[in-house]
C-alpha cells in the first residue's frame, strides 16, 4: 500500500526524525491560509501515489500567500500518471547546503532489509545507480540485531565528513529503521536528506510503501489508506479480495493463481490477442468472488471477450461455475464468454454450466484461441 508524503512524514516525526512543519490543503484557499501562517516562501507539493511529481509540475515554490493560492489551484487541477491530485502539502521552503539520499527496502537476494545511502540526493536514485554507482552504498541489516550504532555511523560517514552531521545522520538512520520496522514497510525513503547552511540535517521528503500483508495487524497504518488516490477498479478488486491490474487489451481474463494468470495473459498474446487485465481470484474461491470479478471486468468498455481459466485445486470449479451463473443472471453479459475449467469437481461444474446454457472447455490453449478470436471479431466456435 502506498501512503502519501505527508503521512510518511507524520510517521517519521513520531520516530524523532527532524522534518520541517507542513500542512495539507484540499483547496487553494486552504493552501493560502497555511502559507500565511508559515510566512515566507513555501513549497506546494502534490500528494499523489505516483513518482515523477516534480517533472509533472506537481512541486512548486511560491513566495506570497497569493501566489500559493494560484499555484495550489494549478496543481490541484493536475492528473499525474492518470491520478487526479486531491491534496497538496504546504511547507516552508528550506535553505539547502547539500542533498543526500537514504532509503531502506526489503531485498530478496540477501533476505534482509537493506539500506541504500548516497551523498547524491535530490535526484532519482535509479539515475544515481546507473550513472555513478560508486556514489551508492548498500548495507543489509541483520534482523536479529537491528541497525547497530556503529553501522549507522559507518553509513553516515559516507554521507558527511563533519562528525556532528554524521552523528545526526546516524541517528536519523536508526530512527528510519525503527519507523520502517514498526510500520511493516517494504520501502522507506528520505530524498533528499539535506543539510542547512547552519549545519542541521533535515528530511525534506518522505516516502513509504507498506507491505499489504502487514495491514491486518496494523490498523493505524491501514487507516492511512486513501482510496481517492487509487484507480476505482483496483479499490473494488481489493475489497473483493481479488488481485487486479488493469491493462489496455480487449480480452478480459479471470484466472485462479498469479502464475497461471500471467501464463494465460502470455498465451492470449501468443495467439495474437491482447489481455485487458491481470485478475487472480486466489486460492479459496467462492461464488461471490467470481461475481465481483465479472463486475470489475465488464466495467471496462474495452473488453470484447471474457476468458475464464480455472485449474481447480483448493479452488472448487463448481464454486466458480455457480458464481458465473449468478453473475450472468444478475447482469446479462454484452460480450462473449469462454470458460475453461479443469480439476476439483469439474464434472459438477460442467453440469451446472450446461443447465444454464453455457459451454465449458478443458484445454487451455483451445480456450485462449477461442477467446482471442471472439475479441478480434472472429467467429465463435
Amino acid at each position: 500500500m502506498n501512503i502519501h508524503e505527508y503521512q510518511a512524514k507524520d510517521i517519521f516525526r513520531k520516530f524523532g526524525i527532524p522534518i520541517p512543519p507542513g500542512e495539507v490543503a484540499r483547496t487553494p484557499e486552504e493552501a493560502e491560509a497555511i502559507a500565511r501562517k508559515f510566512g515566507g516562501t513555501v513549497v506546494v507539493k502534490a500528494q499523489v501515489h505516483a513518482g515523477g511529481r516534480g517533472k509533472a509540475g506537481g512541486v512548486k515554490l511560491a513566495k506570497t500567500p497569493e501566489e500559493v493560492k494560484s499555484t495550489a489551484a494549478q496543481i490541484l487541477k493536475l492528473r499525474i500518471k492518470d491520478i487526479p491530485v486531491e491534496k497538496v502539502l504546504v511547507t516552508p521552503a528550506a535553505d539547502i547546503a547539500s542533498e543526500a539520499y537514504v532509503g531502506i527496502i526489503v531485498d530478496r537476494v540477501s533476505k534482509k532489509a537493506v539500506f541504500m545511502v548516497s551523498p547524491a540526493g535530490g535526484i532519482d536514485i535509479e539515475e544515481v545507480a546507473e550513472k555513478t554507482p560508486e556514489k551508492i552504498v548498500r548495507h543489509p541489516v541483520d534482523p536479529r540485531y537491528g541497525l547497530q550504532s556503529y553501522e549507522a555511523m559507518n553509513l553516515a560517514f559516507f554521507l558527511y565528513k563533519d562528525v556532528k552531521q554524521a552523528r545526526a545522520a546516524a541517528k536519523i538512520l536508526q530512527q528510519l529503521y525503527a519507523a520502517f520496522m514498526a510500520s511493516g514497510a517494504s520501502l522507506a525513503e528520505i530524498n533528499p536528506l539535506v543539510t542547512t547552511p547552519e549545519g542541521e540535517v533535515v528530511a525534506l521528503d518522505a516516502k513509504m510503501v507498506i507491505d499489504d500483508n502487514e495491514l491486518d495487524r496494523l490498523p493505524d497504518i491501514e487507516a492511512l489508506r486513501d482510496e481517492s488516490a487509487e484507480a476505482p477498479s483496483e479499490v473494488l478488486a481489493r475489497k473483493a479480495n481479488l488481485t487486479f491490474i488493469k491493462l489496455d487489451g480487449n480480452v478480459g481474463c479471470v484466472v485462479n493463481g498469479a502464475g497461471l494468470a500471467m501464463a494465460t495473459m502470455d498465451l492470449v498474446k501468443y495467439y495474437g490477442g491482447d489481455p485487458a487485465n491481470f485478475l487472480d481470484i486466489g486460492g479459496s474461491s467462492n461464488p461471490e468472488k467470481v461475481v465481483n470479478a465479472l463486475r470489475i471486468i465488464t466495467s471496462d468498455p474495452n473488453v470484447k471477450a471474457i476468458l475464464f481459466n480455472i485449474f481447480g485445486g483448493i479452488t472448487r470449479t463448481d464454486d466458480v461455475a455457480n458464481g458465473i451463473v449468478t453473475a450472468i443472471n444478475e447482469n446479462p453479459l454484452k460480450v462473449p464468454l469462454v470458460i475453461r475449467l479443469t480439476g476439483t469437481n469439474d464434472e459438477i461444474a460442467v453440469k451446472i454450466l450446461k443447465e444454464n446454457g453455457l459451454a465449458a472447455m478443458t484445454d487451455m490453449d483451445e480456450a485462449v484461441q477461442k477467446a482471442v478470436s471472439l475479441a478480434t471479431g472472429g467467429k465463435a466456435t
Partner: protein
C-alpha cells in the same frame, strides 16, 4: 526415489483443525501420506478423524510421534511463529502453505530456521508431492503420476497445469515442488535442482519461473555449471506490466528488473530449453531426453 519426502516421511500438520488444514489433512491421508499428528493449541489430547493425535505444541508432538516433517496451515499473523516453533522442535523439513506472511516476519524466520539446521519450503507455496509415495501440501494428487521427471516451480496452479500436461503425455514425476512466489522463502530453485541432480531416478527437470528477482538467472547458471541432467523451463509474465511487482528500488538492489525476457535469455544461454507455452514443456522434455 524422490526428493525431500518419500514413503517414510512422518508428517505433522500445524493448524490441523482449521478450515484449510482439516480439508488438506484428509486429502493427504487419502493420498497415503503418513500423517502422524496434528497441532492446535488447546486441542491437545483430542484426535483428528478418530486416528490422528492432536497436541498443544510442536515440541510435544515431535516427542510423542517422531515426526520428521511438518506442514503449516495457520493464518498469516501466526505463520512465522509456527515455522520457528517447528524448527526449534527439531523438525528437519518444514512446509508452509500459508499465503500472506509479512515479509519482515520472514527476515527473522529465515536465519532462525537456518541456525536450527532445518529446510523450509515456502511460505505461500503449494507444497510438494512424490507421486505414489507422499504428498505434503495442496497439489492435487489426481493430476500427478509416478515417473522419472522432476518439477520445480514458483507458481501454484500453473504448476498444476504443467504437471497435468505432463501426466496426460505419459511423463510421470519423481517429485513436484512448488517453492512459492514470496520475496523471501526458504528453499529456492538451486536447492531443488541440486536435489534432483542427486536423485537417481530423476532423468530430467522442468523449472517454472516467474517475473521478478534473479533466482531463475542464478538457477540457470547453476544448471550449466553443476548439472548433468537436462533441464527445460517456462517463464510466466512475458506480458506483465513493468514496475507493478517489485518497484524500482527492488530493481536497483538486484541490479536487474527481473523481466521474463531476461530470464528466458538466461535459460537459453545456459542450455535450458525454453517453452513458449506451458504445453511446449512436454515436447521440449521429450527432445531433451533423446538428445
Amino acid at each position: 526415489m524422490s526428493i525431500f519426502i518419500d514413503k517414510e516421511t512422518r508428517l505433522l500438520i500445524q493448524g490441523i483443525t482449521g478450515r484449510d488444514g482439516s480439508f488438506h489433512a484428509k486429502q493427504m491421508m487419502e493420498y497415503g501420506t503418513k500423517v502422524v499428528g496434528g497441532v492446535t493449541p488447546g486441542k491437545g489430547g483430542l484426535k483428528f478423524e478418530t486416528t490422528v493425535p492432536i497436541f498443544n505444541t510442536v515440541a510435544q508432538a515431535v516427542k510423542e510421534t517422531g515426526a520428521n516433517a511438518t506442514v503449516i496451515y495457520v493464518p498469516p499473523p501466526f505463520a512465522a511463529d509456527a515455522m520457528m516453533e517447528a524448527a526449534d522442535a527439531g523438525i528437519p523439513f518444514i512446509v508452509c502453505i500459508t499465503e500472506g506472511v509479512p515479509v519482515l516476519d520472514m527476515t527473522r524466520v529465515y536465519p532462525f530456521v537456518k541456525e536450527k539446521g532445518a529446510r523450509l519450503l515456502g511460505p505461500n507455496c503449494p507444497g510438494l508431492i512424490s507421486p505414489g509415495q507422499s504428498k505434503v501440501g495442496i497439489i492435487p494428487g489426481s493430476i500427478c503420476a509416478s515417473g522419472p521427471y522432476g518439477l520445480v516451480s514458483r507458481s501454484g496452479t500453473l504448476t498444476y497445469e504443467v504437471v497435468y500436461q505432463m501426466t496426460r503425455a505419459g511423463m510421470g514425476q519423481t517429485t513436484c515442488v512448488g517453492i512459492g512466489g514470496d520475496p523471501i522463502n526458504g528453499t529456492n530453485f538451486i536447492d531443488c535442482l541440486a536435489a534432483f541432480e542427486a536423485d537417481n531416478e530423476t532423468k530430467a527437470v522442468v523449472m517454472i519461473g516467474e517475473i521478478g528477482g534473479t533466482d531463475e538467472q542464478e538457477a540457470a547458471k547453476f544448471v550449466k555449471e553443476k548439472m548433468s541432467k537436462p533441464v527445460v523451463g517456462f517463464i510466466a509474465g512475458q506480458t506483465a506490466p513493468p514496475g507493478r511487482r517489485m518497484g524500482h528500488a527492488g530493481a536497483i538492489i538486484s541490479g536487474s528488473a527481473g523481466t521474463a525476457a531476461e530470464k528466458m535469455q538466461a535459460f537459453e544461454e545456459n542450455g535450458i530449453g525454453v517453452a513458449k507455452r506451458p504445453i511446449d514443456v512436454v515436447s521440449l522434455l521429450k527432445k531433451s531426453i533423446k538428445s
